[in-house]
Subunit: 352 residues, 2 copies
């Protein structure tokens, strides 16, 4: 006999997070993690953290970190929202800002969590296909909608859009809330943070997991008008008052304050990216013009799935998506120069 | 003209977290925080944490911490769920397990977040008043319902129920999912963890914030049948795959492994509680028999609100709730013996 309480369980497809290999001696360029360690100042903040304070709840507003972010982006602290990684931030944005009967809209090729959140929160959605060059056509976004979310630069395509695109998007969406997910912006993309001062209905989200090498600490943020931020805070405080722990507050703050290290590591990744792009193109690959810490590539006469499997046997882990339209593409995170040399050598072997 | 996008904002009452004073030289016995630092092993785990690893995402299953909890409670790792504090765990349990058209039920005097989550997730609810001695009447819970949540011991009443109560509750609720919130259980309450093996529809939640002095790190957990845990995991992974950061995984694990320190500090708090209870009763207070790290007390001929305000002027911060039925009670967290001496001396002065 089926137990009656079973019917009260949420019927939901389990989302399986990407595989993480614990193996050593591998080149792990499959999760868009930063190959360089976090700022030494952040490391020091953890080492010197006064653990006696852990018996207290964290600062509920995470003020020290929030203020550092506000200062860095030249906005008021009331324009900053913080969450447990940018997944938490965007999930809260979905709940707080997308409450229309009309579908929210976003590109067909994009972050795979968007439809998962729509399903979890019962939000209708609609996709506009990116064009044959994987570019987002801003004209699609003129149609009446319940909200817009666009990653800029986009993943996994690595392509970014500039000010003109964003201004048009905002012009077409005066009646909607627009969220721009800038997880990868620090690697050469155009940031819309400044435009949040012009458009009260624009929210920009960011993360410490990529450019700041702090994926392990779970820090995400959003910047927008006081109006939008206050609703995010209301939803967050109805869920969990203390999402950012005390160690993350201190280490995150130290990272923001060390701008020199931040710029240096971003620049290093951008330089490595340029070199890998050139080398792969020389090998006959089509490599999109990346504004992120990864590249998106294909080779017309070659199965990318086979190549991905081959590289795995050589302990080089890149990412392959078995997704329509991009089933012959791979996503390669930019690692250190040494890691990319191993990758390129294995690639040359394979292509030969 | 009202902007049209405003109507898409979630209409939600902002929940204001309890005030935290940054002041020094105060006796802060108002937030049920532990007066003793976390285990030295946990402190060491943070100091020795290899911050170079922070560039990687945390272990998505938080396996090292989950396994330590499983071993500690003598269950399988598949019976353990982890979240960003027990607020996150319980909020996910509400979404995952309370999907009936019938109201979920819980006592009228209890954790103030339950109705907030019901409102956030649109879950109907109904309260059964605790009796004149603030005890939960298990017979109330025979009525058909959409789920049950009971904190045991309860807050702010400090009262706990034993095995007989829980067995009856489970017998009356064969068709419902029952969640028992054991945030305070380590200070002398009866734990239902063992009963999760007998009842597949029983979930027990716990936290590292009270007895383990790790409120600053945000670690909560749940223990239950594989069936229940798998649905919690599905909801959690649809929201945010990486809620427990890498530092918390290590420090939490170290705390669990240091059982001697854990028992020592819990025992110290229990001893101090007994003494404070006796001293307050000698002063004419009615003090409930606490199984928690706080006491709930009143004095018939005295305004507890005035007393609370007076103590504040003396830099002793206790908790007063302006809530019907308990508007002449105060909640006092058990601090160190020194802190409680300061409190008791000020109390004697005031009562005189």
């Amino acid at each position: 006999m089926e137990k009656l309480w079973i019917k009260n369980l949420r019927d939901i497809e389990p989302y399986v997070p990407g595989e993480q290999s614990g193996e050593k001696d591998i080149v792990k360029i499959n999760a868009n993690e930063n190959p360089y360690p976090p700022s030494p100042k952040a490391v020091e903040a953890i080492r010197n953290f006064n653990a006696q304070l852990l018996r207290f709840y964290p600062n509920a507003n995470a003020t020290p970190l929030k203020q550092a972010i506000a200062d860095y982006y030249n906005v008021d602290i009331k324009n900053v929202f913080l969450g447990n990684g940018s997944d938490d931030v965007i999930a809260i944005a979905f709940q707080a800002l997308f409450n229309s009967d009309l579908p929210i809209v976003y590109p067909d090729l994009t972050y795979s969590f968007y439809p998962v959140w729509c399903s979890l929160f019962g939000i209708p959605y609609k996709n506009y296909p990116v064009d044959e060059n994987f570019r987002i056509n801003v004209e699609d976004y003129r149609e009446k909608n319940g909200g817009v979310i666009i990653p800029n630069p986009n993943a996994p395509t690595s392509l970014g859009e500039g000010r003109e695109f964003v201004e048009k998007l905002m012009e077409y969406n005066r009646d909607s809330i627009v969220v721009i997910d800038e997880a990868y912006v620090d690697f050469g993309g155009f940031s819309s943070v400044e435009l949040t001062k012009k458009y009260e209905n624009l929210l920009v989200t960011g993360t410490f997991s990529k450019s700041r090498s702090l994926a392990g600490l779970r820090i995400g943020f959003a910047i927008g008008s006081e109006k939008l931020i206050s609703v995010l805070e209301a939803v967050k405080n109805s869920y969990n008052s203390y999402t950012i722990d005390s160690v993350s507050i201190e280490a995150g703050r130290a990272s923001i304050l060390d701008d020199e290290y931040f710029r240096e590591t971003c620049d290093k990744i951008i330089r490595t990216r340029a070199r890998v792009t050139d080398d792969m193109r020389a090998l006959g690959f089509k490599v999109l013009d990346s504004q992120t810490n990864f590249i998106f590539a294909t080779k017309d006469d070659m199965s990318m799935k086979d190549m991905f499997e081959y590289l795995k046997t050589k302990k080089v882990f890149i990412r392959y998506f078995s997704v329509p339209r991009i089933e012959n593409y791979v996503r390669i995170t930019i690692g250190t120069d040494e890691e990319m040399n191993v990758f390129l050598n294995e690639l040359k072997e394979y292509v030969k």
